[in-house]
């Protein structure tokens, strides 16, 4: 069986729709991973030990096991305890939490790199600890760690393909559906790869733009 890419155009609409889902999942998970990462970093650095430790165990487990396994746990495991999430929601939460843990590591380093005088100065001026963290430390920390967080975002985009395994009809699953009708795996997976590549280029361009803007502001 040779290659015949002429079957692809008639499914382009489906693939395009799948690509939109991929972008949606990526953006949703990115938001969770970014704000979750900040939350986890603040807990890891400032919370009392009793709260810190369970979170540390949580982070260790998330960094030490594969994302695919975590997606299975969130999707099938929560059903076991009576929480029936739609696959899309389970996928976004799973991806988001996984990368929140990775982002938290980076943001912690960023927070530690903020001059200590900033914290002390802010406290001396009468701001509470919570205000100091929220308004003085975190904004400065986040700015310095945008490039590595951007790298995680690109990894997240590619890992969004994994949610096809729990049945979310994004780009990968859409191409699989087309394959099940046409029996042309090579053509459609290459087409899907092309879509991912283009989304990836767009994302990289966006990140470069953000990085440049931050540099000017500094």
């Amino acid at each position: 069986m040779g290659l015949d890419f002429s079957v692809v155009p008639s499914y382009l609409d489906n693939l395009f729709f799948g690509a939109l889902w991929t972008i949606g999942i990526t953006l949703g998970a990115a938001a969770i991973s970014f704000f979750g990462g900040i939350g986890l970093a603040v807990i890891a650095l400032y919370a009392p030990a009793l709260i810190r430790w369970p979170f540390r165990v949580f982070a260790f487990m998330f960094m030490g096991t594969p994302l695919l396994l975590q997606l299975f746990l969130i999707y099938f495991g929560l059903i076991q305890i009576g929480i029936d999430l739609p696959a899309f929601v389970a996928g976004v939460i799973g991806l988001g939490l996984h990368y929140a843990v990775y982002n938290s590591d980076i943001i912690q380093a960023g927070i530690l790199a903020v001059d200590k005088g900033q914290y002390e100065g802010s406290r001396t001026l009468g701001l509470s600890q919570g205000q100091t963290i929220r308004k003085i430390v975190v904004p400065q920390a986040v700015r310095t760690v945008i490039p590595p967080i951007g790298n995680n975002l690109i990894a997240l985009l590619k890992d969004s393909a994994l949610v096809s395994v729990i049945g979310v009809a994004e780009l990968t699953l859409t191409s699989q559906l087309a394959i099940s009708k046409t029996f042309r795996p090579f053509e459609f997976y290459v087409a899907a790869a092309g879509f991912y590549y283009v989304i990836n280029l767009g994302l990289e361009a966006g990140l470069r733009h953000i990085e440049r803007r931050i540099q000017i502001a500094r």
Binding site: M1, G64, T65, F76, A161, E187, A193
Partner: protein
């Protein structure tokens, strides 16, 4: 938490863990080869070779590993490449991690002080001698730790081949979730094994890194 069940089925998970370890070892070796070739290409004198290296890195890093595996395993037969799932897993994962290792190795090589190359060339060593005897030994030291990060990612990446039904750890966990309806127990069992593998590998890499550090 059903510990009886865990005690009853953990031998199957250990068997599956062996497959995961084999996948990780073979694909890491292939990845190191691809990485070395890629780094060589990316630093080559000829622009065409550099371009080929850059394209490899860009395409592989710009698309999901899962799709690459699917192209190789499901699409391969269409272009005359017949592989069983395990072989496709090793080759696909190896080529994938090779692109990341290319960048790691290239980064380490260009991080070696330029004066070293210049001095070595001035002393009359050829380009190849300079690379093999001066630059590379120093670059090797720098690349151990970042390659360790790549390998750590690769161990977790082996879970992807569950999607082309290689019976490794994640596939086994998934199968037992389906038959026992006990996802938390299965996750715990598989998760602990993954963490042990990653921990031991991490210790090994730290040891190598310490051994290689300048005294």
């Amino acid at each position: 938490m059903d510990f009886d069940l865990i005690l009853r089925i953990y031998p199957f998970f250990l068997e599956a863990a062996l497959v995961t370890i084999q996948l990780a070892v073979y694909s890491t070796i292939l990845g190191l080869l691809c990485g070395a070739l890629g780094a060589y290409a990316r630093l080559h004198r000829l622009a065409g070779v550099r371009f080929a290296g850059a394209t490899y890195v860009s395409v592989i890093r710009g698309t999901p590993a899962l799709i690459q595996l699917f192209i190789l395993y499901f699409g391969g037969p269409q272009v005359g490449i017949q592989l069983d799932a395990f072989e496709a897993g090793v080759i696909g994962l190896g080529i994938n991690i090779g692109a990341y290792m290319t960048e790691t190795m290239r980064g380490a090589i260009i991080a070696v002080d330029k004066g070293q190359t210049e001095a070595s060339r001035t002393l009359g060593m050829s380009r190849a001698q300079t690379m093999l005897k001066v630059t590379l030994p120093q670059a090797m030291r720098l690349m151990i730790r970042p390659l360790g990060v790549n390998i750590n990612a690769q161990i977790k990446g082996t879970a992807l081949v569950a999607a082309i039904s290689v019976v490794e750890l994640t596939y086994t966990a998934q199968r037992y979730i389906g038959s026992t309806y006990k996802p938390f127990e299965m996750f715990l069992l598989a998760g602990v094994i993954y963490m042990v593998i990653i921990y031991v590998t991490g210790q090994g890499i730290s040891y190598l890194d310490k051994r290689a550090a300048l005294k």
